[in-house]
């Protein structure tokens, strides 16, 4: 059953490779992803036992990430059908295939309980993303791809070394040598501190560069800026969560070991630094796709801060992980539409989107408000929780900085987004084929609906899931 999560998309990929016709090929995506979604739902409903050897296990954290990715991917694949209809000239065989491979890799990340396997799956996602970013086949996109590939590979390599350190620390501590998560967690306290420290730092830097924690985020603006909207959505909403999950596994070990506090401190600082970077780079940003990249940096920072705070903030952080990925989906898809409609992503050409593409414009606006933490949307809930638990722990400095950065980021983002959405459409505008149509507007609309609902009512199953996950991370439920 769980292997289906991994194998089904691979089969789909093979299928897409066989389908000759651009138009029909696109339809494979929604079919596969819907099936994947169904399986995911079934698995979350009743969690199966661990595989022999315990390499494969779906715990609460995995369920969260898996669910988020599956939903996001389904929406994106629905969108892809509409989107690719506009890009028929460009061959999309590679795109479809790698999308599905990526889906299987992300699923593997979610369900693997062995760090080595986790690492392999993560590296696989990194590699499959490269052709997606390169979809547009122009100078800028190849540059973006190169930077993405190099930096992420370096990062992931560092992470591998971190894993080796971890394994070696078990040897030094005369324990059974393994990278199985439960064993590591149980023996965490006994691991040799020096090696453990080194391991944690290497893993943090490695996975952090994949997540895009500042200052390891440098590939993000380029990749997000040049990739097609739906790829951006998957990068910002899906892959970030995978890398985050890897980090969370490390976090579990760190908390179980004696010096969870130190690790949390490091996380707190990294998170705040990321938010600060985002705030600085957000100001006067004239390319709204790059702006979204920095927003993603910001939110990774927010989640990291939540992890650093621990306790009640963990629940909020995990909730924010979901909220962020869904909202990012809306942002990227809608701004992809706007990009198509204006054939530009610079604020000096793109104005009055609400007039030219009413739905996408409105969605972009709403998603902007959501992502900057305005009610009644979901991120407001999680951010408010994080702030209040920061103050609630008496950690006022963090709380104040957090609010300050949020405000600065809001200012920066508003001064970019509002001119794009509002105002009059410039007269001298090259005519483009794209106008808002059902297939490209409906998918982000679904996501927006979910974000809105989560903003006022968290379904009971999700709440339970979040509590269990937080409990896994050592937060009191």
């Amino acid at each position: 059953m769980m292997w289906a999560l991994v194998l089904l998309p691979l089969l789909g990929a093979a299928l897409t490779w066989l389908v000759p016709d651009n138009r029909r090929r696109a339809w494979v995506l929604p079919v596969v992803s819907l099936a994947h979604l169904a399986i995911t739902a079934a698995l979350i409903a009743e969690a199966p036992a661990a595989s022999p050897g315990g390499w494969i296990l779906l715990d609460a954290l995995g369920k969260l990430v898996l669910a988020g990715n599956s939903v996001l991917f389904t929406v994106c694949s629905l969108y892809a059908v509409g989107y690719l209809a506009y890009r028929l000239k460009r061959p999309n065989r590679v795109l479809c295939a790698s999308l599905l491979v990526c889906l299987s890799a992300t699923s593997l990340v979610a369900i693997s309980h062995h760090l080595g396997l986790l690492w392999i799956a993560l590296e696989a996602t990194t590699l499959t993303m490269a052709p997606l970013i390169y979809f547009n086949h122009n100078a800028r996109s190849i540059e973006a791809t190169w930077k993405y590939l190099l930096i992420c590979s370096v990062g992931i390599a560092i992470a591998l070394l971190g894993l080796f350190f971890l394994a070696y620390s078990t040897i030094v501590a005369r324990q059974e040598v393994t990278l199985l998560l439960p064993t590591l967690i149980n023996n965490a306290a006994g691991l040799h501190p020096g090696w453990r420290h080194a391991a944690f730092i290497f893993l943090l830097v490695g996975f952090g560069s994949k997540m895009g924690l500042a200052p390891l985020h440098t590939w993000k603006p380029d990749a997000y800026g040049e990739a097609p909207g739906l790829v951006g959505a998957l990068l910002a909403g899906g892959l970030v969560n995978c890398a985050l999950l890897a980090l969370l596994r490390v976090y579990q070990i760190a908390v179980a070991s004696t010096e969870g506090a130190l690790f949390q401190e490091v996380l707190l600082v990294m998170g705040l630094v990321s938010m600060a970077f985002a705030a600085v780079f957000m100001a006067r940003q004239s390319d709204f796709k790059r702006m979204l990249a920095y927003s993603s940096v910001e939110h990774v920072g927010i989640i990291t801060v939540a992890l650093g705070l621990g306790h009640g903030a963990l629940f909020a952080g995990l909730l924010h992980m979901i909220n962020n990925s869904l909202t990012k989906g809306v942002l990227f898809l809608s701004c992809g539409n706007i990009h198509r409609a204006y054939n530009s992503k610079s604020t000096q050409f793109v104005r009055g989107a609400i007039r030219r593409t009413p739905w996408s414009g409105a969605l972009f606006m709403a998603a902007f408000l959501a992502i900057t933490g305005s009610p009644p949307f979901a991120p407001f809930v999680s951010e408010f929780l994080i702030v209040s638990s920061a103050f609630g722990q008496g950690n006022h400095v963090t709380g104040a900085l957090f609010l300050l950065f949020l405000a600065l980021i809001f200012i920066g983002m508003a001064s970019t987004v509002l001119p794009v959405v509002l105002g009059e459409v410039p007269k001298d505008l090259e005519r483009t084929r794209y106008r808002d149509a059902f297939p490209t507007v409906f998918p982000p609309l679904i996501l927006m609906g979910i974000v809105l609902v989560l903003g006022v009512w968290i379904p009971e199953p999700l709440r339970v899931l979040l509590h269990d996950a937080a409990a896994l991370l050592g937060g009191e439920a």
Binding site: I158, T218, A283, R284, I354, S388, I458
Partner: protein
Amino acid sequence: MLFFDMMRDPAFLVLCAIVLAGCSGLPGLFLRHGTLGQRLASVAALTSSLLALPSILYLLLGGGEASFTLNWNLPFGPCEVALDPLSLFFLIPIFLIFPAGSLYALGYWPAKSQASEKSVTFFYGLLACAMAMVVVARNGFLFMMSWEVMALSGYFLLVAEHGEKEVRSAGIVYLVASHLGGAALTALFASLFWITGSFSFPAPHSLAVAGGVTSTLFLLALAGFGSKAGMMPLHLWLPSAHANAPSHVSALLSGVMLKVGIYGLLRVISFVSERPLWWGALLASVGLTSALAGICVASAQKDIKRLLAYSSIENLGIITTGIGLFLLGEGSGNPRLAFLGLAAALFHVLNHAIFKPLLFFCAGSVMHAAGTRDLDRMGGLARRLPFTAFFALCGSIAICGLPPFNGFASEMLLYLGFFGEARSAVPFVALGAPVLAMVGGVAVIAFVKLYGIAFLGEPRTEAAAKGHEAPVTMLAPIGLLAALSLLGGLFPPVFMALVQPALRALAPDTGLVSALPVPPVWFAVAGGSVIILAAVLYLFLQGRVKGRQASGPTWGCGYLRPSPRIQYTGSSFGAFFSSLSGALIRTRLHVDPVTGLAPSAARLSYAPEETLLHRVVLPFLNIAGVACAFLRRLQHGEVQIYILYIFATLMLLLLWVH
């Protein structure tokens, strides 16, 4: 069956009304034709206030309280909603102005651009609902949620005509300001959570912690709520926002939304058991400052709605002063002062909620008639819009705080508070009286200017000459408000009856002086006799001159060919005073140089500028932007450098943990 039982419960009716108000704009979104949606919305609005107002009055006068716990599963503790006197009192303006505005919109909006009508109809209802929710919320998170929704719907209303650049920039300033305020409030409620351990509001007077903490809370509240209530110097967003919104929206924004800020302040103050004296001093001084500065700047405006917006700053300043006196009185064990201050504040909340929307509505009709917001392009509208002109006159007199209208009654209470302090050992507080007198004087300048320049004299432009009276749907709410403000002026006890319960709830110990020091009859006598005397005199004189009236042109002092453009304009009317008030009011002049022997036509244009914004804030923001641009060099494209970042981070972290 159960439902009907609940419908008998007035408190439940109020909640229903709130929900109804929120949904009032919904059908409009799905209807193809906007005006029908507006009609439905107006009907819904009227129904909601017909449901709400009687129940509110019943509860308020009957001393009833109620609290409900909504069922939600967000992790913020029980979501409590309660109606206590304070909430009920602040609900009154909402349910008074909201239906009035939406009735007004019926006539007002169709004439404007059709483009964003639906969204305006929708967000107008949402705004009212959100404000009401803010007022009834008893849970920090619910409060913040409704607060932000309120702010956002305000924004969307404000940018209804986002085609114009001015509107957009006003919108951005508004949004940023309200977000900063929201951040302060978030910090406030987070700290409350830290202190009490729950998101539910603490009971009144229950918050007894170290002085430093409560003072921080107070300052946070002042920053958050003060910026919403437009206290100087946090008012920067207010004038352009209120000037650029559609008129019925401006009415709601400035008539009610500012008061919600005041509500928040009062609510947070009510938590605290120990209130230092300096809170009162700070509030009083802030209030007087913004009252004086606000009205001075107002007197220099040439944009009719900007003028009104600045006068809102003045009135909110007066309210704040009242609250300040209340705290001073409490702190110094002087229940009389406390009572007068709070009574004046609450009374003025009602008054301002009546005459400011009245004036904004009139401004809307005037803008229709003259096609501009620029006072210097109006004139002579009284003959075209007789009813609007009359009601505007009532509003202007009322807002200047002159008898026989309601503005006088509340300012009277404040004066009595000040004068009472003249007898105390060190009569610092009494010094407020001359300042308030000054404010009154300048208010006369501002509103004589507004009324006289807009409505009287000769039309300065063709558009103004061809103005038309507003339809009855627009006149009805205006007339109602005018009548209310006269009522409040002649029979203050009517309004005091509404103020009393809230007052007792906020300051139980002022109960012993719960009667007005002025026998209220004198208000009626003075106002009534002035009106009657005037009427009698008028009839008498008309009798004298019957049949002996001649008419001719105004005497031009020997100037033969006068044109309407030689009249005193609004700017020239205010110029003399502005010249006295110095740096506070600057005017930007744009002059084309006149050159050559036969100079070509040159233009001169002038506009009062928002000194603080243009001289301080914007330059600072520019500097910050440049600084960020400098830092952004970090991301300068060389992948080698990026790898260096990774390496450096790795090394630094390793150093840190070892």
